[in-house]
């Protein structure tokens, strides 16, 4: 039995005629300590899978099992890092982390909690900005603060919902390495949502693409069995990654093609007109005539 299991999960939103299926027949098994990347076009339901594991959304059919127990709600053992950071702007870096620590380790003494908060912040190298509010932080620092808040709960599972997609390429690679460092050190199970194939190749053990929905299903997985630490340069230029990347991209492109074909199924009739180059030929029909007034037309 795998550590995280999604068995025949289907989810839809709305009801009655307004209902739309988002996910259909999702089967996903993740082993303990594994690093999984979910890849797909935006709007295909990646975040819904994340929310299913986090316990914020419940399946209409099928079941979500984490560590042998059915998911009935959010819990500190499954830490979710939100796409848009979700820091509270009225708290500084320390207090944003303290919000989590004070809640989950409420039994511990104040010094123990303080220690935990500072450890988590130090792990993402934010100690210098300890008392800055989110408004004073850059995008990368905010995301690190968000990661620190999740790490401080010491979760078994780290759910990263497109944590890096809003960052610039340089900051992104720095935080990628930080996440990998944390993973190496603490060995959580990580599920990462991304729309960047290279990010998946660099970080994950397995890449699982989502088909274009709705409703979306999981595509064929690509196992990245390369030794770590991986070489960025090899990923972008090397032969060995080329095949893997092609495999993922082929699936995604085929999906896009399918979607396009589906939308072409409905024929659209275009008016049979040819554009006229008025720089050379002035339209003769109206030459020498003033435009008619409304009264004259009627």
């Amino acid at each position: 039995m795998a550590y995280i299991e999604l068995n025949n999960v289907s989810v839809g939103f709305g009801s009655g005629t307004d209902r739309s299926e988002v996910l259909e027949d999702i089967n996903l098994h993740i082993e303990k300590g594994e690093f999984i990347a979910l890849l797909g076009y935006s709007g295909t339901g990646k975040s819904t899978i994340m929310n299913l594991i986090a316990g914020l959304v419940f399946p209409d059919e099928g079941e979500v099992i984490v560590d042998g127990r059915k998911v009935t709600g959010p819990g500190p053992e499954r830490g979710l890092v939100f796409q848009n950071y979700s820091l509270l702007p009225w708290f500084d870096v320390y207090d944003n982390v303290a919000l989590a620590v004070d809640e989950i380790y409420s039994a511990d003494s104040e010094t123990e909690r303080d220690e935990k908060i500072r450890t988590a912040i130090d792990r993402v190298n934010l100690t210098d900005a300890l008392h800055k509010r989110p408004g004073e932080l850059s995008g990368g620092m905010r995301q690190r603060n968000s990661v620190a808040r999740t790490l401080s709960m010491n979760p078994e599972v780290l759910l990263l919902d497109e944590p890096l997609s809003a960052l610039d390429a340089l900051t992104r690679s720095v935080i990628q390495d930080q996440i990998l460092g944390i993973w190496k050190e603490l060995g959580q199970t990580i599920v990462l949502i991304t729309n960047d194939v290279d990010e998946g190749l660099y970080m994950a053990d397995r890449i699982i693409p989502l088909s274009v929905g709705p409703p979306a299903t999981l595509g064929p997985e690509t196992v990245v069995d390369k030794k770590r630490p991986r070489d960025r340069k090899a990923i972008t230029t090397g032969e060995e990654y080329h095949k893997l990347r092609q495999q993922v991209i082929d699936f995604l492109l085929a999906e896009k093609e399918k979607e396009r074909a589906a939308s072409h199924a409905r024929p659209v009739s275009l008016p049979n007109v040819r554009p006229m180059d008025i720089s050379r030929h002035r339209p003769t029909a109206f030459r020498g005539q003033r435009p008619k007034k409304r009264k004259e037309i009627a």
Partner: protein, 418 residues
């Protein structure tokens, strides 16, 4: 970890220390900082002046001042001229709409230099003061009014003391004659006079303070009622659906309609206070009316603010499994503070506006009563004082609004929507 944090902390302190040292030796005027502070305090209007003093782009500042200062001044002057012209045409048998000069006289008690006396027919002003010891001020002007009310109170107490002394003397006489019964009667008379307090009007300045106190009481009670109910409405759609008709029904009701109801409440609930106490029933009635009318903007804004808290922030609360109280206190309330304060700002405005009517009805010793009394006087000078009161009411309302604006800015984070 703490060792890693301490150097950075001390580091930043030492940096700011070294920055401040030259400032301590020689005061340097930083126009930019002063301008920013002024803007933050809601006095952004004065920022160009601050920059001009610091010689920061003087040409640009002069241009800004020309637009932002000169235009309003020109408009105000146009208003004053139009006012003084139009005022001449509105006349009844007893009252004339006072012009700017008459209003100025009502405020200061002195005529503008170079102009003839604005009230030639009334008490002859500077030349023959109404009270000999009134510093030459017309007692009917506000400045004179302040002194006049004080003098009236002093006179009252003096005559009161005379009576007390008289009765005490008689009582002593009767005692000397051996008529103890008569002596006791005189003594009792003396006591009744000694117990009596001055029942006349308060001075204009006292009335301003009482008005502010009334609004403060009404506003605080309104906030204490509106914020919790608003939070409940925002959190629970059911609660909101249940209360919405009541809110919509009572929101547009005029303060004048609330007055009789509040009056019954205060009469039933507030014991008659001693007559020299400021906590009169009228004050509570007035505050109650203010409260009932200024409740709604805060309530509605709080409800909207709480209902529109960022979904992601609520998800954070869910993932962290925050308890109900912590969720409200640490996430929902801070997130909706800007809107709550918008509501509070509107409430203060409504409260101050309603207060004058409430004071008039309840005869609370505030600005409303001042206006009412002057209206009852019904002469031109009193009407001029009403105009002064109108300006004072407007100015205080403006200051209150600015104070609330600063509060609103303090609780709003620049990046509220991250």
């Amino acid at each position: 970890m703490s060792t890693a944090a301490t150097p950075s902390k001390t580091g930043s302190v030492s940096v700011s220390d070294s920055n401040q040292k030259p400032e301590r030796k020689r005061f340097t005027y930083n126009p930019n900082r002063v301008a920013h502070t002024l803007t933050k305090l809601g006095l952004g209007y004065f920022a160009p002046f601050a920059r001009l003093i610091g010689k920061d782009e003087p040409a640009k500042q002069l241009k800004e001042i020309a637009v932002n200062t000169c235009l309003p001044i020109v408009a105000f002057l146009c208003f004053v001229i139009g006012w003084s012209i139009l005022a001449r045409f509105v006349k009844t048998d007893s009252v004339q709409i006072p012009g700017p000069h008459q209003s100025w006289y009502a405020l200061t008690g002195t005529a503008l230099p170079g102009l003839s006396h604005p009230f030639p027919d009334s008490v002859s002003g500077q030349e023959a003061p109404y009270f000999a010891d009134n510093q030459g001020l017309d007692p009917k002007s506000i400045n004179g009014f302040v002194v006049a009310e004080e003098i009236a109170e002093l006179n009252y107490q003096e005559s009161q003391q005379e009576r007390v002394d008289k009765f005490l003397a008689r009582s002593r006489e009767a005692e000397a004659e051996g008529d103890l019964e008569k002596a006791a009667k005189y003594k009792k008379n003396a006591d009744t006079f000694a117990d009596k307090t001055y029942q006349g009007n308060k001075t204009f300045y006292d009335q301003i303070w009482i008005s502010l106190l009334t609004v403060a009481i009404g506003f605080i009670i309104a906030t204490l009622v509106a914020v919790p109910i608003g939070v409940l409405c925002g959190i629970s759609p059911m609660f909101n659906i249940a209360l919405n008709p009541l809110i919509q029904l009572f929101k547009p009701v005029s303060p004048l309609a609330w007055f009789p109801i509040v009056f019954v409440f205060t009469t039933a609930l507030v014991a008659t206070p001693p007559s020299d106490s400021i906590w009169q029933r009228a004050l509570w009635t007035s505050a109650g009316v203010v409260m009932l009318c200024s409740l709604w903007p805060t309530l509605i804004n709080t409800a909207v603010g709480v209902a529109s808290v960022d979904k992601d922030h609520l998800n954070v609360a869910k993932v962290l499994k925050l308890g109900w109280f912590k969720r409200i206190w640490k996430i929902v309330l801070p997130a909706s503070l800007p809107l709550i304060f918008t509501g509070l700002r509107l409430s203060v405005g409504v409260g101050w506006m309603v207060l004058i009517a409430a004071d008039m009805m309840a005869q609370n010793q505030g600005l409303g009563k001042f206006v009412w009394d002057m209206y009852q006087n019904g002469d031109t000078m009193s009407t001029a004082q009403i105009i002064v009161a109108v300006f004072v009411i407007g100015a205080i309302g403006f200051v209150l609004d600015r104070i609330m604006l600063v509060c609103q800015r303090l609780v709003t984070f620049e990046e509220q929507n991250i």
